[in-house]
Symmetry: C3
Subunit: 653 residues, 3 copies
Amino acid sequence: MRLGVCYYPEHWPEEKWADDARRMAELGLSCVRIGEFAWAKFEPQPGQYDWDWFDRAIETLHAEGLGIILGTPTATPPKWLIDRHPDILAQDEHGRPRRFGSRRHYCFSSETYRRECRGIVTEMVRRYGEHPGVVMWQTDNEYGCHDTVESYSPAAQAAFRVWLENRYGTIEALNKAWGAVFWSQTYRSFDEVDPPGATVTEANPSHRLDFQRFSSDQVASFNREQVDIIRAFSPGREITHNFMGVFTAFDHHKVGADLDVATWDSYPLGFLDLMPLPEDLKRYWLRQGHPDFQAFHHDLYRGCSPKWGVMEQQPGPVNWAPYNPAPLPGMVRLWSLEAIAHGADLVSWFRWRQVPFAQEHMHAGLQRPDGAPAPAYDEARQVAADVEAIKAGETTRSEVALIFDYESQWTHLIQPQGKGMDLLRQAFETYSSLRQLGLSIDILPQSADLSGYKLIVLPGLPILNAGLIKQLKETPGTILALPRTGSKTDNFHIPETLAPGALQPLMPIRVTRVESLRPLVTETAIWVDSERIVINWREHVELPAPDSELGVHVEARFADGSAFWIEAGQVHYLAGWPDNEAAVNIFGVIAKRAGLEPRSVGPSLRLRRLGDLEFAFNYGLETASLKGLVPEDAEFRIGGMDLPPAGVAAWKA
Amino acid sequence: MRLGVCYYPEHWPEEKWADDARRMAELGLSCVRIGEFAWAKFEPQPGQYDWDWFDRAIETLHAEGLGIILGTPTATPPKWLIDRHPDILAQDEHGRPRRFGSRRHYCFSSETYRRECRGIVTEMVRRYGEHPGVVMWQTDNEYGCHDTVESYSPAAQAAFRVWLENRYGTIEALNKAWGAVFWSQTYRSFDEVDPPGATVTEANPSHRLDFQRFSSDQVASFNREQVDIIRAFSPGREITHNFMGVFTAFDHHKVGADLDVATWDSYPLGFLDLMPLPEDLKRYWLRQGHPDFQAFHHDLYRGCSPKWGVMEQQPGPVNWAPYNPAPLPGMVRLWSLEAIAHGADLVSWFRWRQVPFAQEHMHAGLQRPDGAPAPAYDEARQVAADVEAIKAGETTRSEVALIFDYESQWTHLIQPQGKGMDLLRQAFETYSSLRQLGLSIDILPQSADLSGYKLIVLPGLPILNAGLIKQLKETPGTILALPRTGSKTDNFHIPETLAPGALQPLMPIRVTRVESLRPLVTETAIWVDSERIVINWREHVELPAPDSELGVHVEARFADGSAFWIEAGQVHYLAGWPDNEAAVNIFGVIAKRAGLEPRSVGPSLRLRRLGDLEFAFNYGLETASLKGLVPEDAEFRIGGMDLPPAGVAAWKA
Amino acid sequence: MRLGVCYYPEHWPEEKWADDARRMAELGLSCVRIGEFAWAKFEPQPGQYDWDWFDRAIETLHAEGLGIILGTPTATPPKWLIDRHPDILAQDEHGRPRRFGSRRHYCFSSETYRRECRGIVTEMVRRYGEHPGVVMWQTDNEYGCHDTVESYSPAAQAAFRVWLENRYGTIEALNKAWGAVFWSQTYRSFDEVDPPGATVTEANPSHRLDFQRFSSDQVASFNREQVDIIRAFSPGREITHNFMGVFTAFDHHKVGADLDVATWDSYPLGFLDLMPLPEDLKRYWLRQGHPDFQAFHHDLYRGCSPKWGVMEQQPGPVNWAPYNPAPLPGMVRLWSLEAIAHGADLVSWFRWRQVPFAQEHMHAGLQRPDGAPAPAYDEARQVAADVEAIKAGETTRSEVALIFDYESQWTHLIQPQGKGMDLLRQAFETYSSLRQLGLSIDILPQSADLSGYKLIVLPGLPILNAGLIKQLKETPGTILALPRTGSKTDNFHIPETLAPGALQPLMPIRVTRVESLRPLVTETAIWVDSERIVINWREHVELPAPDSELGVHVEARFADGSAFWIEAGQVHYLAGWPDNEAAVNIFGVIAKRAGLEPRSVGPSLRLRRLGDLEFAFNYGLETASLKGLVPEDAEFRIGGMDLPPAGVAAWKA
């Protein structure tokens, strides 16, 4: 487990470097990320490289024993490169270039740009690949940030056509897969197919899904080119990329498969501001962030690569959210320890020192712009001490698996049917309700090994892979499927036997009709004596004939008698979206039946098991008691029975 | 009176066709619309036609006795045609093409496209025009859908200049008509005039009005080209076009004048979601639709052509509204019968079977995608039985005429003066208040024959035609004019004698000042003991001198003493926009004075007279009683004194 | 002190001119503005001028003794000019031209346009410059209206590069000033620098600030070209330009420095509608306008030039706000007299008569379109009488100076950090709180002479000029600095010693962290027994060591103990944004300490001192009493102790 920091030697006078390095080591950090935006410093003129200053920066940091994470600088091609090759710029759906002057102004399909990237990366990796101080490489920076995955440039158009031909072989196959007979969308050859942009009304959803798959694949292959170079010339070093939060425009599982360490950039307060939450919750969690947001992403990205971590941890107010408050004292420590509790191999703060100029000059660092310690500085030092005290072991598998899938998410975004419906949101809300039961969760791709899980949750995945279905048939665990599960084929059609399609061998029902509901419209479902409130989405379900081979049991029904909660053996299906209160109640019952021990922890307290340790985190503004959750004689490694706001406890469980 | 369905044989395996046709006939349908999006199947390669499959489809349907409505496929030009002639694409005000990939991607002014359309339509009409199964033609599909009336292409620019020269003769006349001296907008020749797009601030309203007139005329002439071909080669067949709801970008009266049957596409739930209503009403009418929305459009389009009907009737949840609930059980029947009560010659459901792919795969049909009956299937069967039971006669004229005019609507949209002010909305709200008084209404163009009407309502038409004024002077009926009536000349100027301009011979007042009011700002007008609340809009009126030849009587005044409700003989003028409660009260008084018998029916119950029949429709969620509205001894043909939700009654009146 | 009106002879038949002129004089007006949109009438064909009609218009007005204000017509280049030189059009950040059809469709950087403007202005000034009736010139009209300051045309790009080279000399200096090392934004030459448009995410703030400075300078130099021609050929005549409200895209102090009279266009009701106020206040002030809005702009523009005035005073409902109510009876008079109380040299109503056509046909005038007097006509006459009764002397300096600065405003807009944060808004709210204490205020640029002021307020100016700091060090007055003061360098960096940067010699603190707060999030600061509520913005401040040379006193602290209100000698600093109630209380204490005599006047009553006169204005809907505010034996020149709504009083103080 490593602690680190992001650092930009090029922003500071060289005479400060040695002291910076010394203080990093003194603070308890073991690694430092550098270089990822410095192309214009590395190659100030076309083909003329200047590595001397960077050599010295690396030596200075290495001299203090810091492991160096080198970022390739391909997120920021210099102006001279753009002026020479304007075809590098991505284009929007109207063909307008996305211009120089910030970052990520490139098209993943530009062959020119790929060639230039191979050039600079090869230069860099050849020079530093075997340096003893270099421990890890980061490719590029935050792929897709600022909506940069899709491009409608001529290069993208050409590559998309090749991609389609590879996928379909014949244009007839494409026409069939897309249902192109609808509205005379039939193509005569792949050369007639454009990216789905600037259409009069919505483009064909199958067309859009394939364009998203293509665009995602372009990110993965762009990344792979760098990975291949690094593997070739920097043996033994780990490779990472820093993902973002709430971002699904490319398939992180695919990119993650080429990495050793999936990292992400965790900004709890900035993201809270952007979340579609009620205002009162945004005010309550103003300086803490949402108690499930960070954990959700930790668990999601843990499922992407052999190791994972946080590459950029928010240290104070940022500059990019509509409102930018400061963290509650202690929260930077809490967020950092929470990552560790979820098994992080690396926690790295962004950035060492607030830079006094340019776009991010209002983004806090561990140090203020004047070099004095910012509040997070001492919290970082405390984290280093906590790590010693905690003595965490290896990450272990949880008992609950939540399946997330990027293609399925795209189907939601392309055809939400109900405003704001979105698989990521459904997965997050499901996760949050399960966490309010004190459960630890793994978020996994469809291809993951599901053996050993007591509860497997499908939070509304329209596209189900055959491999997943096979595992679901074999698991002795309990399965919970939420609305929209299995509702689409791979080509974005409705399955011949209707939803839940591929799940029907396990849940023999047919969803005959779906309704998306306005805000505040609810449906009531009756179960024992209590009400279950369904919001946003309701389905009408046809049950199998009573003499069907695979029987079903209806656990709860809507007021009109239609089935809501259906059980078929170990499989549960909900034909409507429960609000949080209903979800906690229902999931609690299912969890118990699955052999789990759910514990209600309320809105702001969170638990997490890591090997033989258990952690508690208090996101609330009041002190929380762990009585009843922790054995009376538990051995606390940090914290205790009473957790103040921003408090963390860890004990041997 | 015909029942029908929309069908797409090209979407389904040929082996299903015969069974589909058989079941349509069995369900009680007598006609079926096909073909309107199938250009790429008709002409898969440039100039190479493939009619064989369509021949077989027609024969199969004809064999079951179904009358065939053939749609021309010009709403969806194929990709090969666009690639060959990119000038077909419409352009937005910045000159950006609206691209292939959905539908309606063409410019009405493109001579290339007109030539191609004449080509495919001629081929089609020559082949099927005299087929005994063919009973009707539909031109294109939903002209203007997705904001496709206006185009700023070079073709549109050139055609606009010709249109202007035809209208004005000399550039001096145009300059005068537009008040071009204002802001140095004077032109030296027609060649200098562009469409009014991408201007720094709003363009000249006269310029915009003429561009809308031109754009509307382009739709009409585009349609007429197809009508002429059909009339030439398909004698005796009716011609229709399917209009939309809440759509005023072209003059439906002008297009309707070339048709035999004006049809429209009725989606009560989708439209409810889009209406600017308070949330609580959207929730209350969630699964029923607004009780006046459908009727308003029935009555509006009945005024367009000799016959009218519903070409696409919503059968279940749709895919295109922000939220898409399912109709309350019985509502599909109610909507269908309501159309019949308003005199529909055709009610046709969209579509036979939900298609499992492409843009509309979440749009319900009479059948589910798996071919089983959807809930609307049995309601359609019931409608067929109801039609038999009702034995409706011919449509008869109502006693109330509401005048609607597209040019007037454009003046509102171009110069709303108050946010959200809009003639269609004013006309709709006026209609709704009158319907809450149990009245049946005809919505008519200014040119209609108004003889025999007891009450003629002008819901705020700024531009009054001389022909209308002549009829108003001669009518013995009562006239109700609402704010903005007569407030503009034909060229979008303020009349020399101010508003109500051309109405002044009948209502000798001058509107000296208008105010648009913020939401929740109200003005009170006193009348006897009750308050009249004015919202949105208030006018200050100058009355004629007491010794004026034509006297006026002030029925109610604003709190500051200014006249609100003014009577001059049989003519009433309101100098402010009443809220619904006030409108119902005031209109009730006026209706009685006009010799009508208003009956208060509340928010959700609606009545409609058709010949010697009277109908009642319950849009509410509670059972409604007809006591007091129906004679005790009335002979019910369907329904009875107590109407459940979605209930319909018809009795001999 | 002159009263005037805006008039468009070209809009009316020539036979009306003489009567119009006669009635203007009869009404008590002494001047009339004409000509500013008539280019197409002056030069109907390229190079062919037609001045005859204008000669006659001028003679007609002059014959009645009216002083003529001539507007240059450069806000509306004719169509023939645009067609000949499309490069005149401004372009948006995507390179799209802003087209002909309204007004202000030109790029300030177009050399073509500058040449054409010099041409028409020279023609006009040579012809009329020495006419005895001409008393003033207005350059162009409302520079920047409709967001027309910035252009991204090739001409603007080229001029921007020259401007940058002039500013920085070397590209290295620019790279340093912009912190271009960040995100590889380094340039190799000025030819590589583009305007900061269409970037993927936000462009460099230093880059943006310089582009705004450049764009503003282009306005100033465009204006100066006309000023130079007028000075050369029209000796002795004053020069003005009519500024707008709430508009900061160019530096009005710089443009004002070239003028004799800074005028502005005052539309109280239109602007109220656009202000970000709570709905209940918008309803309360619906027909009066905000009680500080007009005064704020009077005081702001008084600080721009030797004289000032209102060129366009709203006379009734306008056409351009979302909602357009009519003024309360008396308000047109109140607004006019309020301008006079603030020292206006000119009040001119817009317009003489409502024009019945084109874009502004719903904009009221002193006369209705039919030529009858509108309500404002008699109010204008009353104002002329009031002016006689008041016998106002020269404007005198106030005791409170509020510093406003356009560059500082741009830093707020470019990097708000908190949504909606804006220096203009902060300055306005500060001004409003001070006015609720009955104070008269001068709004001044940083370069103004501050001697004699008892209280100098810095409402959050990030960039402080050395000259201002020098004066602040020397003043015996009290200084109040609000959050963000001194928080940026001239290049948009954080100062080396952090905020308040250049103010630290006077206020020796460091702002170590800032927080922008969501709506309804407040912080409490404790002071004596009362609470001070901080909204929107909070700072964390480091105080100097207790043994620091310059001691500070903390007057109030936040609940967490951090300093909120800090005093260092005569200097006060607030480390958070107070809400209005807190601001009135705090400012009242500081005002008293500064030797002022604050008097609480509540939300709607306003006072203003002018020489030895004092004025009161009632913006409320209830009668206000001046008891306690006016000496019992005061000599009222107009009004009295009880002020009705829209009432005005003036007495010798």
